[in-house]
Symmetry: C2
Subunit: 338 residues, 2 copies
Amino acid sequence: MGPVCIAQESAYKDWQDFAVTTQVLANHNMLKVPQNQVAGHQAGGGNLGPLVDDSGHFYKPLQGDERGSKEVAFYTSFSLNTKVPDEIRKFFPIFYGTQLVEASDGSGLKSHLVLEDLTLGNVNPSIMDIKIGSRTWSPQASEDYIAKCLKKDRESSSLLLGFRLSGLQFYTNKEAVFRKPTKKSVQSLSAEEIKLVLKNFVSSNTSTELESKPDCAFASVVFGGPNGILSQLFELKSWFEDQTLYHFYSVSVHMMYEKQLASEGRNPRAEIKLIDFAHVDEGRGVIDHNFLGGICSLVKFISEILRATDDCPIKALNYLLGDEVENLVLSLRDKLQK
Amino acid sequence: MGPVCIAQESAYKDWQDFAVTTQVLANHNMLKVPQNQVAGHQAGGGNLGPLVDDSGHFYKPLQGDERGSKEVAFYTSFSLNTKVPDEIRKFFPIFYGTQLVEASDGSGLKSHLVLEDLTLGNVNPSIMDIKIGSRTWSPQASEDYIAKCLKKDRESSSLLLGFRLSGLQFYTNKEAVFRKPTKKSVQSLSAEEIKLVLKNFVSSNTSTELESKPDCAFASVVFGGPNGILSQLFELKSWFEDQTLYHFYSVSVHMMYEKQLASEGRNPRAEIKLIDFAHVDEGRGVIDHNFLGGICSLVKFISEILRATDDCPIKALNYLLGDEVENLVLSLRDKLQK
């Protein structure tokens, strides 16, 4: 797909960065297919899908049915909602409004959401998208839609685990190979399998296949620590225990970090964002117990992996600093035990 | 229904109080219809339902289908499970095994669960039974059962609130009148209505009808404080964030206190217990996100009532200590503002 032009659709309000959008419009920026999208409709090969530019914008075509208008309505409401704490906003992509853009399938100008490109500045991000909630449908949805979702929730891991994997990309640092399993193969994982995938996500010995004995070398820096993914999930959890503004059906947590940075002992830029808001309802005075339950389940899985890693920190040290450190630690232990 | 006799069914293991059961068997204790049961099948009028004796035992007839055997299996497993912390056991009725007992419907000897009588020692307990979880069915249930439960979850408040009221009994201290609404009238309450019921539960001005302006006079002593219901719910919540032993479908929280004691400024014996375990599954390495979400939703409602009560504590003081205190507080406030 070649570069395309952007035309302004309509004036809109933006709570944070109106100037950026204006600039995008002025530049007639070149758009291309994103390299790091692991779930959802994908552009390329004449298909309709999201596009990105070089300035950090992600263009998501509005779905023709009411999903498109519901997602715009959510982003608009959320952007303007003064009840959302600033420290929670960081978990949501910045919203720059909607624009008419040449669609990736060549069908001409089409309305797109303009969002923050979450992978901007990343070279080889490892990514997991996890759809949260044992129920992906709103009580207000149509009978047909509920039946369809319920079937999928039962066939996938959603019902049992409270979430399902909707996509992933592993960076294997030996050959710089990405692994993007197909949707079906990852959605119906068991508790043990999802634990294995999460361990592979933070391991140094990942190959093109799932490693059955992942070393979890980066668990403590990616999942753990004050800026790690678990800490971010706890922030989200606290908000969900209290907020009655929105109910997030079929929304995913997008987890990402740079394995190359982790393997160099640098800050791996571990980050979570919430994505896909085509099925958000008003909260009407009730917390989102469905989403909260799913987050708590994910927290439990990640906590267990971290706890297991804490029991054998030598492996991680070994990876980062080489065999000598492991030998040193082992000999120190021997001396202490004598 | 007249008094009935007990015959021993089989030897069984009891984790806590085997001696008590033996005594029951020896005494041929008289059984009667419980006075404070607010939900479930009720004995009396020739119906099959639970019975109690004077020694603190509650006899629940085993449901003929697999529900009966599932409930026995749960109580047996739970009683023997050393992974359940002691401080969590207090939220479950003590299990004394099963016994053959003359059924309340006159159908002869029938197998009963023998449990702790939760209302023993209470004179006029105010009670609310709340079925927890937006989903009351297990993924392993039959298609017919799932369809039936799903319909009920959608028609009641379960889907939206994450729980539904399954029964209540209010003690109105003026005329000693109990109010036991029918099941249907309480199951489909909205968020605002459930809040009103919870407020009435802890109010001094409850009448035979729901009071539209409940004074919440006892909110701080029943819901609040280190031994209050909210504190107990937080203990349960912590365990559910971690435990992967059981998944509790269609289980209720039984909340109870003595309004008479509260109105005398004494400890109102506020207490929660979990009841009804005919649909419990093994946890298989996953937390019970469905139950946890429902508990968090209930916690939010009760927290909001408490917070609102904290804003105007004069009302509660007024009830307990009379008008003079209110006048004193108001005059003090006037002086401070001058």
